[in-house]
Structure formats: structure tokens, C-alpha cells
């Protein structure tokens, strides 16, 4: 297979508004049953205005930007850092914040940004030999 050079960057993706159903679906898929993420009364008693998403939900959503762009097989590493919570009703913009290329290798910083401009999760991705494995 040839190695097509990836587009300079992928189009931005938008996800949301995030619903409680989305959060519950991820809880079931991932096995995170911390009640802060599905039990409204529990979350309020703990001092939060409502339930909120587990960081891994938006980390997974952001990974799609990397795989759409670079190809799943080319990705050598993916690392996420959780910065701000995602609440029901939030709309996330997934975008490339920085990138550096060296031949057929790419290192990039991706971000999932809330509608209020806060970065919810930031990801570092490294890929090599795009679509060539």
C-alpha cells in the first residue's frame, strides 16, 4: 500500500449537545459506574450542579479526530490530559491545536473545546507511516 500524505489537518468535528443518555451509554460501554456520572441526587449531594461525563468519554470522542485524520493503524501513541468537566448540554469542538511533521511522521496536539471556550481534554498523538501498515 502507498502512504498517502495526510491532509494538513482534518476538518473540525462537533459533538453534542452531550446528553445524560450519552454519559450513561459510555458508562455501560466502559464499565465506569461511579454514581457522579449517572446519579443526579448523588452528584448534587457531592456539591456538583448535575452529573457530568467521565473524562474517558470525551477522550474517546477526541480519538476519532486522530483516527479519521491519520489512520488507526499508523498511530503509535495517544495520550490525554483532563482539563475541565463536560456537562450535559455541552457542545464539544474537536480540533487540531498544533502539529509537527517529519517525513511520514506526525506529532500533534488535539483539543476538545467546550462552547464556552474551555478545553475539556487535550491529547497528544504520534503517528508514522500513515495508512501504510
Amino acid at each position: 500500500m502507498s502512504a498517502p500524505v495526510p491532509e494538513p489537518e482534518p476538518p473540525e468535528l462537533t459533538v453534542g449537545p452531550i446528553t445524560r443518555t450519552d454519559i450513561v451509554r459510555f458508562a455501560g460501554a466502559g464499565g465506569d459506574f461511579n454514581p457522579l456520572h449517572h446519579d443526579e441526587e448523588y452528584a448534587r449531594a457531592a456539591g456538583f450542579p448535575s452529573v457530568f461525563a467521565m473524562g474517558q468519554m470525551q477522550a474517546g470522542m477526541l480519538s476519532r479526530l486522530a483516527t479519521d485524520w491519520l489512520g488507526l493503524a499508523a498511530i503509535e501513541s495517544y495520550k490525554v490530559r483532563f482539563a475541565a468537566k463536560v456537562w450535559p448540554g455541552d457542545v464539544l469542538t474537536l480540533r487540531v491545536a498544533e502539529q509537527e511533521r517529519d517525513g511520514d511522521a506526525v506529532e500533534a496536539v488535539l483539543e476538545a473545546v467546550r462552547q464556552d471556550g474551555e478545553v475539556a481534554v487535550r491529547a497528544w498523538v504520534r503517528a508514522k507511516g500513515m495508512n501504510d501498515r
Partner: protein, 147 residues
């Protein structure tokens, strides 16, 4: 504490679970639901999304792990998680995960008390005992609120 075994488990990469996880992260790529689409991209079988090993949550006990580390679960948050891939896991793999303590750091909290950073490393190996994915996560125990 470094090197301490935190937990150990095995799970099969199942077709239905991959589809469910891909839906949960809102990734509509055909490779996660259609074996032919996966083969067209060069995969031997349906591959798992990048963060799929998160489903280990079904196979381990977060509260027990935190207790074993001597941390207060009410103050523990996950700061970052990283994955390194030897290859993407695919449907049919049975992954064996072994999670150990890789690093422990303590820092003074901004408002007194001590913050603890625990780095856990997991190797996911396949049936041939080859490493498929390495995962590192940093747990942060925030400083106890000063009263």
C-alpha cells in the same frame, strides 16, 4: 511501592463490545462494525478504537485498587492517561492486563497539605504473550482541605 501489582485480569476483544464502545464515543467508522471494511483498511479483523482498553473498568475494582495504594478515593482524580500501541487490538484477541505502580511523587498542595501523584503502568499482552498495548495513567490524590 514501585513495582507493586495493583490488579491483573483478562478479557476477550468482542465484536459486540467494540461496536458498543465505538457508538459510545460517537465514532461511526465502518471498520468498527464491518469486518470487510476492516479488511479493506488492512486489519485482520475488526480493530478496537484507540482508548478501548478503558473497558477494563468492567474487569477490575477501582475502589479496591485505590485502597491498595493507600489513597483516599474521595480525593482521587485521574489526571492523564496514555497508550502506546504495538498494534491495534482486534476482535478475537484475548488481552491479559497487568497493572503495576510505576512512579510515586509527592508535592506540597497550593493551599497546604500534600498532593500525591501515582503513575500506574499496564501491559496488555495477547495469547502469544506479546505486548499489544502499554497504558500509563496518573492518579492524583488532591491535598486534604485544611480546616
Amino acid at each position: 511501592m514501585i513495582g507493586t501489582l495493583v490488579d491483573e485480569y483478562a478479557f476477550a476483544v468482542e465484536e459486540g463490545k467494540v461496536m458498543e464502545f465505538a457508538r459510545a464515543i460517537k465514532d461511526p467508522a465502518a471498520r468498527y462494525v464491518d469486518a470487510e471494511a476492516a479488511r479493506d483498511e488492512g486489519f485482520a479483523a475488526i480493530p478496537a478504537p484507540l482508548t478501548f482498553t478503558v473497558i477494563a473498568g468492567h474487569h477490575r475494582d477501582a475502589a479496591a485498587a485505590v485502597a491498595l495504594l493507600g489513597l483516599d478515593i474521595r480525593r482521587v482524580v485521574v489526571g492523564e492517561v496514555g497508550w502506546e500501541y504495538e498494534r491495534p487490538p482486534v476482535v478475537g484477541d484475548v488481552l491479559h492486563g497487568r497493572r503495576t505502580v510505576a512512579d510515586v511523587q509527592r508535592k506540597d498542595g497550593a493551599r497546604g497539605g500534600t498532593m500525591t501523584f501515582v503513575t500506574l503502568a499496564t501491559e496488555f499482552r495477547d495469547a502469544a504473550e506479546e505486548v499489544v498495548v502499554r497504558q500509563r495513567e496518573v492518579l492524583i490524590e488532591t491535598a486534604k482541605a485544611s480546616s
